[in-house]
C-alpha cells in the first residue's frame, strides 16, 4: 500500500507499512533529522511537525493517515514559515537555546500560536507551551522570546483579536 503526501512542498510517496510513525519515516528512512525523537510517547513535543498547518506529534501519527495532506517539518518551516523565522531570530537574540534538542518542536508548536494569537500575555504563552518540554532552560527565556515576537508582530501591524 502506498501513501502520498506533500512534505515541505514536495511530493512524498511512501510504500511501507502505513502504521509506520511519521517520525521513523522522517528520521530513519529520509534521514531528515531536524525533527527530534525524545520520548516517542506523545509527551515531550520534541517531534512536533505541522500537518495542514496544525501542530502534530510525529511520533504518534501513522504515515498512512497523511494521504493527500501537507506536512511541514522544521527544515521546511525554516525556509517558508515567517512566524518560525521570527521565533528563531528571537530565540537567538535572547539566548534561549541550550542543548537545543527541544527547539525544533518548540518552533513548530509556537509558530501557529504566534500566527493566531497576537495578543497573548505570558501566562497564555506558557499555556501554549505545556506540550513542549524543555529540560535545560527553565522556560522563562523562551517565553521572553515569544513575547518579543508578539510585540514585534503587533508593532508591524499584526491582526488584533
Amino acid at each position: 500500500m502506498s501513501t502520498t503526501f506533500q512534505l515541505n512542498g514536495e511530493t512524498c510517496r511512501f510504500d511501507g507499512d502505513p502504521m509506520t510513525p511519521l517520525i521513523d519515516l522522517l528520521r530513519c528512512q529520509r534521514f531528515m533529522t531536524g525533527t527530534k525523537a525524545v520520548c516517542r510517547e506523545g509527551f515531550c513535543g520534541a517531534c512536533t511537525v505541522n500537518v495542514e498547518g496544525e501542530p502534530v506529534l510525529a511520533c504518534l501519527r501513522p504515515v498512512g493517515l497523511l494521504e493527500g495532506l501537507s506536512v511541514m517539518t522544521i527544515e521546511g518551516a525554516s525556509r517558508y514559515d515567517a512566524e518560525a523565522q521570527l521565533l528563531q531570530a528571537a530565540f537567538e537574540r535572547v539566548d534561549a537555546v541550550q542543548c537545543g534538542m527541544c527547539f525544533p518542536g518548540m518552533v513548530m508548536s509556537l509558530s501557529k500560536f504566534l500566527r493566531e494569537t497576537p495578543r497573548a500575555d505570558r501566562n497564555a504563552v506558557k499555556h501554549a507551551m505545556v506540550g513542549n518540554i524543555c529540560r535545560c532552560t527553565g522556560y522563562e527565556r523562551i517565553v521572553d522570546a515569544v513575547m518579543e515576537c508578539l510585540a514585534e508582530a503587533h508593532s508591524a501591524g499584526g491582526a488584533d483579536v
Partner: protein
C-alpha cells in the same frame, strides 16, 4: 582596554542558529543507510546466576551481523574500584543489566535477534535497600569484592559497603559533652532523580585503521577512550573518541557503558554500529542522582556557635560502585560546608544494592546534603529560638574559617551575599498576597559548592586569515562553555572578535588530556589552559609586528583583529598580515597550555578515602523562595524565587543567567515532583515521560538573579563555574519554605501533594534510620 574588558560580553551562542533550524547533527542524527543498529539483551531479574547463555539462534536471525557477550569484553572498569563488567558474565546484579548485544541491518532485526537469545538464570534473593544491605548477614551483592583491583587507594570497604570516606577535625566527643550546649539531631531521606537529558546515551563506532573511532554523546571523551581500551584489552591509544553536539548531559553522560559495546560490535563486523538507548532503557538505567539516608547531629552553644557536628550519609550506589565511590568525597564539602564548625566528623558510605547503578547529577551529592544541612539548621533555629537568617549570618564560613577537612576558606563571601539577598528581597518585594488563603512560607538558605579543577589542556593555532583555532577536549553539552565563554577568553587574549575563534569539537586524537565537562570546571580549567596557550602566540605576534612596524613590542597592543601601536588606534597591521609574515619567517604561530589546580590539601589526618584534595574553588550561593501550600490538596506553588550567586567574574552574564534559570527550575522539579520509585524487584517504575513528571512551562518561575562578583578565585580572569551551582540549594530552600508554611518538619523530598498532605496531617512516617547508628563510631569501618 584590558583583556578582561575585552572578554566580558553577552556574546550569543554560535550553535543556536543551526539548533533552531534542525541542522545540528547530534550523535543520534548521524546514522545513515549503511549504519548497523545494535540492541541489548538486558536482565529482567535483579539478582541471579547465569546458568546458560546461548546466542547461536540469534546469530542465524535475518540481518544479524554480530553478537557480543562478556567474552568479548572481559575487563572490569570503575572509579576507585574496578567492579563493573560491560556485560554480566556470571552474576546478574540489577534489572536492566546488559548481558549480550546484537548488531543487525535494522533495529527491528536486532531486537528480534535479542528475543532469540536463550538465557537461563538461577535467581538469587535480591538486596534492594541500603537497610537490607547493611543488615547483619546480608547477602553480598559482590561476593568477591575482595578480589577487585583498587584504582584509588585510601577508602575503606567491606562487603556491601563499596566505599567509605571520612572527614574528621577536632574533638567531637568533647564538644558534645560540654554542659553548655544543646544537641539537635535530624534524619533525612531523599529519593532518586532522573537526569532526562533530551538526547539519550548513544554512540556510533566504526573500525578505522585497526582502531575504534567512537562518535558519542559524552561529557568525558577521555574516560570513554580509557574504559573502552580497558574492557576490550586494547591500549587506550587504539580508541579515538570524537564528540558531536551533545543534547544535554547533567552528569548522566559521565557514563561509559554504551560506547565500548559499539566498539566490540564494530570490530566484529567491520561496519559502523550505532547503539542508542530507547527512552525506556534510558529512564530505567539512567544512573539517577542517588537516593540517600542521612543522620546529622549538632552541639550548639547558647550564643549560636556550632561547637560540634557529626553526620553519616548513606549513598545508594546500586549494583556497581561507579561515581558514588568518587562522590563520597563531596559530603565533606557540602554537608561540612556553609557553616563554621568547632569540631566535626562526617562519614559517607556508598552501599551496593541490586538496583540500577546511580551516577553523578548536577551538583552531585550536594543538593541533598544541602537540603539536609539547611533543614537541620532551621531545626536548630526552631529549637533554640534563633532567627534563621541571623543565625546564618553569624555562622556562615568567612575568611580564614576551616572547612570540614581543615582547609581554610579565603575571603568573606557568604555574609555579604546574605546582605545582597536582603537587597534583592526588598527589590522583588513579597508575593504573600498571592498565597490567597493558602499557607504561606518563605525561606533563605545558603549553599557551598566547590569546583574540582583537574587537568585540562588547550592548543591554539593562529590561521593566515587572522582567525584562531582552539583545540581542546571540551564538549558543548548545552551550557554554552564551548560556544561562548572559551571563544571569548581566547579572543580577549588575542584581541580578536570571538566569532573569529574556531572551536574544534572534542577529539582525543587531536587534543590533550582532560577530565571532562562537569562540576562547573570547564571554563575554569580549559579557560586557564587556553590563556596559557595564548602566551607564546602573543609573544610571537608582538615580536613579528615589532619588526614589521619598527616599534618596540612594549608599545604594541592586540585589539580589533590588529596589532596596533597602543597610542594610535587603527595603526599597525592586521593579525592576518602579521601571522602570514610570521609563518614565512619563523613558522606557524601556535601555542599550547595546560592547567591543573594548585589546591590547598586537607589538614593532615582529617580526610580519608577522599578522591579530591579539594577545596579547589569554593562557590557560594544564597537562595530565597516564597511558597504557598494548599491545605486541601497539598499542592505547593512557588510564588517567587531569588538567587544571589557567587560567579567570581561573569564573562557572559546573559549565558550565566540562562544557566541559573535552567538550574533552578530543574531543582524545583527535584524539590516538588520528580520522583523515582523502585518496584518490588528493584526496578525503576517511572519508565517514561508519562510517569516521570518533569517541570513544564507552567511550573517554571522567573528567577530574580544577582550575580556576586569579586570573590577570590584561581580561575582565569577570576572566573568560577556557574552552571552547576544553581541547583545546589533549590530543594533546600523550597523544603525550608514549606516547613515554615506548614509549621511541620520536612524530612523527605520531593514534596509531592500526597507527601505534603501527610506532613500536614502528621501522617508522614518518622525516619528512625535503624541502619544508621546513633553512635557515629558504629557507622565507620576500621
Amino acid at each position: 582596554m584590558s583583556e578582561v574588558e575585552r572578554t566580558i560580553m553577552n556574546l550569543p551562542r554560535r550553535d543556536a542558529p543551526d539548533k533552531l533550524r534542525g541542522r545540528t547533527k547530534y550523535t543520534n542524527d548521524r546514522m545513515d543507510s549503511t549504519t548497523l543498529h545494535a540492541a541489548l539483551l538486558r536482565s529482567t531479574v535483579p539478582a541471579g546466576r547465569i546458568a546458560r547463555l546461548d546466542v547461536s539462534r540469534a546469530l542465524k536471525c535475518p540481518g544479524v551481523r554480530a553478537v557480543a557477550t562478556a567474552g568479548d569484553a572481559p575487563g572490569l572498569f570503575g572509579i576507585g574500584v574496578a567492579d563493573h563488567p560491560l556485560f554480566a558474565s556470571d552474576t546478574i546484579r540489577y534489572i536492566g543489566e546488559p548481558i549480550a548485544a546484537v548488531a543487525a541491518e535494522t533495529l527491528e532485526q536486532a531486537r528480534a535477534a535479542i528475543a532469540a537469545i536463550e538465557l537461563e538464570v538461577e535467581p538469587l534473593a535480591p538486596v534492594l535497600t541500603m537497610e537490607e544491605a547493611l543488615a547483619p548477614g546480608a547477602r553480598l551483592v559482590h561476593e568477591n569484592w575482595r578480589n577487585y583491583e583498587i584504582l584509588f587507594e585510601g577508602g575503606s570497604r567491606r562487603g556491601n559497603i563499596a566505599w567509605e570516606a571520612k572527614a574528621m577535625r577536632g574533638d567531637v566527643d568533647a564538644a558534645f559533652a560540654r554542659s553548655d550546649v544543646r544537641i539537635v539531631e535530624s534524619t533525612f531521606r531523599v529519593g532518586r532523580q532522573n537526569h532526562v537529558p533530551f538526547e539519550p546515551r548513544v554512540a556510533i563506532c566504526s573500525w578505522e585503521d585497526d582502531r575504534a573511532h567512537i562518535q558519542t554523546s559524552t561529557q568525558v571523551p577521555w574516560t570513554v577512550r580509557n574504559v573502552t581500551g580497558r574492557v576490550m584489552g586494547l591500549t587506550p591509544g587504539r580508541v579515538r573518541v570524537t564528540v558531536p553536539a551533545v543534547g544535554g548531559g547533567f552528569g548522566l553522560k559521565f557514563d561509559a557503558t554504551i560506547e565500548p559495546i559499539t566498539a566490540v560490535l564494530a570490530r566484529k563486523t567491520g561496519r559502523a554500529v550505532m547503539l542508542e538507548n530507547s527512552r525506556f532503557e534510558e529512564m530505567t538505567t539512567c544512573l539517577c542522582r542517588e537516593n540517600a539516608d542521612i543522620r546529622i547531629r549538632s552541639a550548639v552553644a547558647a550564643d549560636g556557635e556550632i561547637v560540634g557536628r557529626e553526620a553519616t550519609v548513606l549513598m545508594d550506589c546500586g549494583a556497581y560502585g561507579g561515581e558514588q565511590i568518587f562522590l563520597t568525597t563531596m559530603t565533606a564539602h557540602t554537608l561540612g560546608g556553609n557553616y563554621r564548625l568547632g569540631a566535626v566528623r562526617l562519614t559517607s558510605r556508598a552501599i551496593y544494592t541490586n538496583t540500577p547503578p546511580n551516577g553523578a547529577f548536577r551538583a552531585c551529592n550536594g543538593v541533598y546534603n544541602t537540603f539536609a544541612l539547611e533543614r537541620h539548621t532551621d531545626e536548630i533555629c526552631a529549637e533554640l529560638g534563633f532567627n534563621p537568617i541571623e543565625f546564618r549570618r553569624r555562622n556562615v564560613l568567612g575568611d580564614g574559617d576551616l572547612g570540614a577537612t581543615g582547609q581554610p576558606f579565603e575571603g568573606e563571601v557568604l555574609r555579604p551575599m546574605l546582605d545582597r539577598m536582603e537587597g534583592l528581597r526588598e527589590k522583588v518585594g513579597s508575593a504573600r498576597e498571592r498565597a490567597a488563603g493558602r499557607l504561606y512560607g518563605r525561606a533563605t538558605t545558603v549553599g557551598t559548592w566547590f569546583i574540582f579543577v583537574g587537568p585540562s589542556s588547550a592548543t591554539v593555532n593562529l590561521n593566515a586569515d587572522g582567525s584562531a583555532t582552539l583545540v581542546t577536549s571540551g564538549v558543548e553539552i548545552g551550557s554554552g562553555t564551548m560556544t561562548q565563554s572559551l571563544p571569548q577568553i581566547v579572543a580577549g587574549q588575542l584581541g580578536l572578535d570571538p566569532r573569529d575563534v574556531i572551536v574544534k569539537q572534542a577529539d582525543t586524537d587531536a587534543a590533550g588530556l582532560d577530565v571532562g565537562v562537569g562540576g562547573g570546571r570547564t571554563t575554569v580549567s580549559i579557560g586557564a589552559a587556553s590563556i596559557e596557550a595564548c602566551v607564546p602566540i602573543r609573544e610571537k605576534l608582538l615580536k613579528t609586528a615589532s619588526e614589521m612596524l619598527q616599534t618596540p613590542p612594549e608599545r604594541l597592543t592586540l585589539r580589533n583583529g590588529r596589532v596596533e601601536i597602543a597610542a594610535v588606534p587603527g595603526s599597525g597591521a592586521t593579525v592576518a598580515e602579521v601571522v602570514q609574515r610570521a609563518q614565512s619567517i619563523s613558522g606557524p604561530v601556535t601555542g599550547t597550555g595546560s592547567f591543573t589546580a594548585k589546591n590547598v590539601p586537607a589538614m593532615a589526618g582529617c580526610a580519608m578515602g577522599h578522591f579530591i584534595e579539594a577545596i579547589d574553588i569554593p562557590v557560594f550561593a544564597v537562595h530565597d523562595a516564597e511558597v504557598a501550600v494548599d491545605p486541601e490538596t497539598g499542592h505547593v506553588e512557588v510564588l517567587s524565587y531569588s538567587v544571589v550567586q557567587d560567579v567570581g567574574r561573569a564573562l557572559n552574564p546573559l549565558a550565566i543567567h540562562g544557566q541559573v534559570q535552567g538550574g533552578v527550575v530543574q531543582g524545583l522539579g527535584y524539590a516538588l515532583h520528580e520522583e523515582v520509585t523502585l518496584g518490588g524487584e528493584g526496578e525503576i517504575r517511572q519508565s517514561g515521560f508519562e510517569t516521570y513528571r518533569l517541570p513544564l512551562a507552567l511550573d517554571a518561575v522567573p528567577v530574580a538573579i544577582d550575580l556576586y562578583e569579586g570573590a577570590p578565585s584561581m580561575g582565569p580572569l577570576g572566573t568560577k563555574g556557574a552552571g552547576e551551582v544553581p541547583i545546589l540549594n533549590t530543594a533546600a530552600t523550597v523544603a525550608c519554605a514549606v516547613a515554615n508554611a506548614t509549621g511541620r518538619l520536612v524530612r523527605e523530598i520531593p514534596l509531592t501533594p500526597p507527601r505534603v498532605l501527610r506532613i500536614l496531617r502528621d501522617r508522614e512516617p518518622a525516619l528512625p534510620h535503624p541502619h544508621i547508628s546513633a553512635d557515629w563510631l558504629q557507622n565507620t569501618l576500621d
